[in-house]
């Protein structure tokens, strides 16, 4: 359950990571705000993806 929640949060954080640069390109956001949101998304990704993927067996 914990891993499933972490997985959803991690995937959402990737959306949060990418969306600002797309909005910037569309002229809908300022660069400073883009950098800030990317930083938040990065922190969320590394915490949630670690919970999700650390023990995951690959292959």
């Amino acid at each position: 359950m914990k891993k499933t929640i972490a997985q959803y949060i991690a995937l959402l954080s990737l959306v949060l990571l990418m969306a600002p640069s797309v909005l910037l390109l569309a002229g809908q956001m300022e660069l400073q705000r883009v950098k800030f949101i990317m930083l938040i998304a990065t922190a969320i990704w590394f915490v949630s993806a670690t919970v999700w993927m650390w023990e995951k067996k690959t292959g």
């Binding site: 990571l17 640069s21 797309v22 910037l24 390109l25 660069l31 590394f46 993806a49 690959t58 292959g59």
Partner: protein, 470 residues
């Protein structure tokens, strides 16, 4: 390499026997592995160096599409078919053909090149430290370290990477797996942000793809003369570079060790994930950042991934540069250590990895390797390419031509001179072609492969007549 594979190879499982059927991996494993591995710190150098080489938009985009397709086809039709038939590591396959002593020589060459490559990755990471501490960093044509701050930064970054690789390779490999999807998207964000910066700086209206293409042609990849000290890149340079930058892995057959785990040889098409994410999107993104730097100040020709990434994405950009350099230097140092350890199997892995890391760190001090990365990568591929031709000919042709394959194993020799001379003579001919025939290093490996193949057939015929098993 996936965690599973790494454990198998590092623990010695299947190092001298074919991979068992119950250990074969699915297609998805290879997609993840290639996408992650080919989105590395060095992409942040290569993209800008294309711009420094005066590449035009058409030459870059189409050259990368075609060159990467040729690289994928090389994995699919040269490397994977042999890997899935023999299911042996490159080193064991080579040992059967060349003998133990020649493989040792190959390991030294491979290990040294890995050290230099890891050195370039350490250089990339150190440029991020420079943004924080603001010390002078090397310029595009610098060969030697140019400030105490730079030396200290490289020693600290390289030292940390070496110690971590020696203590906890597996932990960093896990961390690299976690960082990979994030890193790919940050590279994409670099491109989008850089594009936006260009649109704003040039006050261009983009309402269609043709507008975007016009901006690319006239502002980003303008073509024309290269920067001072750089070779002019045309379509052919880009295409051959994209094809051969991983030559050691596909044509050179290093990835026999990877695809021996593949259920089917067509799984090698997964390498397209690495090529079109890392060697297309990431190169284009990084090159946009550098082109924007030149647009702002044409005199600022320094290729420094740290400042480039910081300007685009702030703190996240710096973290990306450090992680991209670190997570790719880590397996590179580890692999170099494995190559060296094969020479002295009784040496401790810890010590060998530390020494290897120290050599990579010293290499990283010299910006020449990173700043001349296009040429270095071409040399790296060329150096190991002849052995790939030897494996290909030995596996597919030698028996049909009336000679024995795996001759070292058959004859018990520790140094198959047919393979050895093929390697040395091919490199000699390639060097001559570059030095005296005016063929650039980026192109010479293609004729080199055919020369190596023909030489190996002729030399094997002669050698096998003279050297027979006891």
């Amino acid at each position: 390499m996936t965690e599973n594979q790494t454990q198998q190879t590092s623990s010695g499982e299947f190092e001298r026997q074919p991979v068992r059927r119950d250990h074969l991996l699915g297609f998805k494993s290879f997609i993840g592995m290639y996408a992650g591995e080919h989105c590395a710190g060095t992409e942040l150098m290569i993209g800008p160096l294309f711009v420094a080489a005066g590449v035009s938009a058409f030459d870059l985009v189409v050259g990368l599409i075609v060159g990467n397709a040729l690289a994928v086809l090389s994995w699919m039709f040269l490397c994977a078919p042999i890997a899935t038939r023999t299911r042996l590591t490159l080193y064991y396959q080579l040992e059967k053909i060349c003998g133990r002593n020649l493989v040792t020589l190959y390991n030294i060459a491979n290990g040294v090149m890995f050290c230099f490559l890891a050195g370039a990755m350490i250089t990339v990471s150190a440029t991020a430290i420079g943004v924080w501490f603001n010390f002078p960093m090397p310029g595009l044509n610098d060969l030697y370290p140019n400030s105490v701050g730079w030396v200290v930064a490289v020693l600290v970054v390289g030292g940390l990477i070496a110690v971590v690789a020696a203590y906890g390779y597996q932990t960093v490999a896990k961390f690299a797996n976690i960082a990979a999807p994030w890193m790919v998207l940050v590279f994409l964000a670099f491109g989008l942000i850089g594009l936006n910066q260009f649109i704003n700086a040039t006050e261009t209206e983009i309402s269609s793809l043709s507008d975007l293409w016009m901006l690319s042609k006239t502002q980003i990849w303008k073509g024309g003369a290269p920067l001072e000290g750089q070779v002019k890149f045309t379509f052919w340079h880009v295409m051959f570079f994209a094809w051969f930058c991983n030559m050691a892995m596909h044509v050179g057959m290093s990835d026999l060790s990877v695809f021996r785990f593949a259920r089917k040889n067509w799984y090698a098409v997964a390498s397209a994930a690495g090529m079109y994410v890392g060697h297309f999107m990431a190169w284009l993104s990084a090159s946009i950042l550098y082109a924007y730097q030149l647009h702002l100040n044409p005199a600022d020709t320094d290729v420094l991934p740290g400042p480039l990434a910081f300007r685009a994405a702030g703190f996240v950009g710096l973290v990306c540069v450090i992680i991209a350099g670190w997570t790719t230097a880590n397996p590179t140092i580890y692999r170099a250590g494995l190559a060296f350890q094969a020479i002295r199997p009784k040496a401790s892995r810890f010590t060998v990895t530390l020494i290897t890391g120290a050599i990579a760190t010293i290499a990283g001090l010299f910006p020449a390797i990173a700043m001349k990365l296009l040429g270095f990568v071409a040399i790296y591929g060329m150096l190991l390419m002849p052995m790939g031709a030897v494996i290909f000919v030995d596996f597919w042709l030698l028996k049909k031509l009336g000679a024995k394959s795996n001759y070292a194993e058959f004859s018990g020799t520790a140094f198959n001179w047919a393979a050895g001379l093929t390697w040395f003579c091919t490199l000699g001919v390639c060097w001559w072609l570059v030095k005296f025939a005016g063929i650039q290093i980026f192109f010479v490996s293609l004729p080199g492969w055919f020369i190596a193949g023909i030489l190996y057939i002729l030399l094997s015929k002669l050698y096998q007549r003279k050297v027979r098993p006891d």
